[in-house]
Amino acid sequence: MTHSNAVPGIELFLDVPAAVPLDEVLIGVVRVVNSGQGTVTVSARVNLIEGDLTVAVTGPDGRTGRAGWPYPVDSLPRTIELGPGEALAGSIPLLVDDSLTPVFPAAGRYSLTARFQVAPGAELTGAAVSVERQAGQDDRAALALQDRDVLQSLLSAAEMGQAAGSLAAMATDGEPTARFLSGLAMGSTGQVRQAAHDLAFGAGDQPADPLSAAAALNAVLPTGLYTGDERREAVIDALTSVTDARVRAVLDGLPHAW
């Protein structure tokens, strides 16, 4: 972990799975951790939407990109106080840059470095982490995850353009996170709740993974920005019985020990 021009004692971590196939959506979990001795006020905008957080992506061919959010927004600052040892967690969809260009165009090992404007004029830089993007088993889903309409739909949690067919296919047969986000984009509240339940508690041969469910939800409808959104509330409702503190940390956007 490194930082530059940063608030003393504050560290930034990006957690991603070691390997994710190209027919699955990669979600990263970002933590802002107070390793110092005193309470520190930090930005609570730990999401891609508001633009304080970006992730530099270096591909296997050495090309670099910047994972971000394609819709430029205007919003208020939000801050939170982090006590010693506390962490603020957020999650981010690592799909596209701010021009909707996919940041993982091909299989291979990618290096990811998160940067976060933790306070005005103070930027944290996390340690580089790597993820292996593997060829997926479902070429159609992998292609769909390069399609602008599909990408916009997943990021907007709403069906956009001509994405309906691809979303329907992924919502039925997709990899777990792609399935959940596709359902979120096209689904009724009930469908969203079911998809979240499947992801969190397992369905069929899919293992239980409540943190992935919370992270996927928060990646596109982050706390603080979309608190109270009915789609978000449906998922949270489905995860009520989850006791994993990390899940609560991601969902409520409050400081937690991590």
Binding site: R45, I49, E50, G51, T54, G68, P70, Y71, P72, V73, D74, S75, L76, P77, R78, D97, D98, S99, L100, Q117, P120, G121, D139, R140, L143, Q146, D147, R148, D149, Q152, S153, S156, A157, A158, E159, M160, G161, L221, G224, L225, Y226, T227, D229
Partner: protein
Amino acid sequence: MCGNSELGDRQHGCCGDSGNEPPLVFDDNGELVTGSDTLGQLRSPLLTGPCSLATVNGSWLLTLSPLRGISAFSSEIRGPLRIQVTGSALRASGDIYVRRFGLNQQLAPALPNDLPPDQPTDAGDATDGQLATLPVNGAPGTPTYPQFPKNQYSWYFRSTGVTYGNGALSFQLIRHLWDRTSQEFVSQDTGQMQLNCRRSLLTPFGIASMTGTATIGGTKYSVTATKTSNLYRGCQVEVDVMTGRVFPATATIGSGAVTSFRQIYASGGWDVTVRLDELNVPEDASLTNAELQTLLAGHRGPAPAGDPWRLWLLVGSSQGTLFGVMFDEDSVPREGAVGFADGTLGNGSTIDPSARNRPLDEVPSAFLRTLVHEAGHALNLFHPKHDVHAPPIGTEIMNQTGDVIGFATVANPYPRNASFAFAQHDLDSLVHAPDPQVRPGWKPFGWGHGSLSSGLPVPVDASGLVSADDAEMLRLELSLPAQVFVGEYVVAETVLTNTGDIPRQVSTRLNLAEGDLRLLHVLPGGAVEQTRDVVVACGPRAMTTLAPGEQLRGRMQVLFTSEGVTFSEPGMHIVRAEFDVDGFSSVRSDRVTVTVRSAASSTERDIALATLDPGVGLAIALGDFGANEDARERLTTVAEDHPEADTGAACALVLANSFARGHVDFRTADTRLASTDDAQRYLALAAKGRSAEQLLTLAATVASPVERDAPVVADALAQVKRSRRGKADVALAEVIAEDFVESSAR
């Protein structure tokens, strides 16, 4: 900007320049390097005098004419020229649009889109007043802005050092050439332009014009320029308001001044006419991006005549706690933005007490700032903190509200601390960036904040990179499957329609084999290919008359073309067709996206294994395997194992066509005899399970367009006539067969 009182010439015609004074010289960045002591001095009383800098400043309609002999073609080479004069800087940029036509087909002149004064509105005095009503500094009282169709865009230029003295404007320029297929700048070269601007001292209120010469890419031109405005660019903004929300027509800002959407953009050099349209967009408490896109489609008014630049702005409810978003990222991007009236300012100590916890539309200056900010994104401006050029974060318009609040204090709280102006970096972009970057509905958000494309200059003339311009009153449509797998048989269909009200003489060669039609193919990696048949025949151009409303239709296989396997690379391919209508004008289709994937199922892999063989590809392109026995075997395997797939049927029809006639290999003297039985067997294989129309579509596309007598077409038609098929189906098949032999207008 050069103010009227500061540098104007309404009384004496000129300032900032004198015939006896040294010229003003500006460097690459437009900064004044010599002669600044001449600013503000008055002229000698002459009948004509050089234009003032205030007259030079603004928007001009630039027209170039080649200084060379008359050719068979005429072109209109014109576009906006923007000359920006600030206190000590002068720079120029422009965008050139080219339209061609033949000597015997003089088209109606295409006038630039006038930007009308603010439209009458049903919202009382919510619309801004006009910025100019009287001629000032050589600009017409009603300003206009040269805006031309996107499909005529040819190049962009900007100055690299300007001198101005005694009415003579001279500058070196860099030109960036535009490729209409890839929609990118692909190369650059240099040139220079000299313009002379003099005005009558007796009638100083006329519209200013300039004449001169230019040398660009090695070609000389005569140049004329007519002033159109004292600002640089114009755009119409339609504002729709959700029920119960308020558009801030004006707002009092921190300085105590009253400003408006239009005035803020005027300070950035843009003449933005704001038209408050609907005030009762139905209530929806929370808006997703999909819903916003739907509102854009459903509430934006129809495009005005001439397709002027325009933007739709919604005063909406909310999306989470956001204040606004530029949500339009569809295939025609950056045409819509929204400000969320229900968003609330916080109660922090750096928020003005009167604004704390108030809905945004109850704080007019804050809401106006957000709306101007979101519209700025639609003009491709970035948040400074995300801009690749890394301009400083501050309090100007394109900073996020959150960042502006970061500069607020208890004594100078938000929104009083906000600057209602664009930062210099954004001003440069608004005034001088190429049209594709800033015009709503053109390049996607994010384009243009890196450097323009580089590369070796290409010596071309001012017409740009294309040899013909889009014909008017003709429409070309291209149909391709949305998704194919590598190795799949692909049929393209083109339809040429006369959309005008007079008959048109057009080429009948609506195929890839006779030179008039080509496909412009952008591969997933961005490379551009021109696609034609593997064999291109030469011969006289057959013409036909296309009456108003009539269509000409062409069908062709594009599995194997001059590119080899056309869709060999998985990913997103973009294809458009270009048809040379009559030798001097062309028509282009819209872009069609084809998603290419790898063969997935065992059937697809079997097919691809055969069809990706170059010999098989060539056989399919020619409609005959010739003497290639390996190709015949591979075709046979696919035809017999997978006749249900169109690729299998196409292979069967290649075999049917081949066996229906003999073949002599003159290199080896080997002869292939005709085999009627085999021909019929493969024809029957292809026909099974297919309609007459489907069978003839395949037959007419496997046969080479230059072999009008290819037996497979006639045999297939005979086969469907013999079989029990519906009359309508057979009639469609007959049309396809007739079109193969000779394209007819219908």
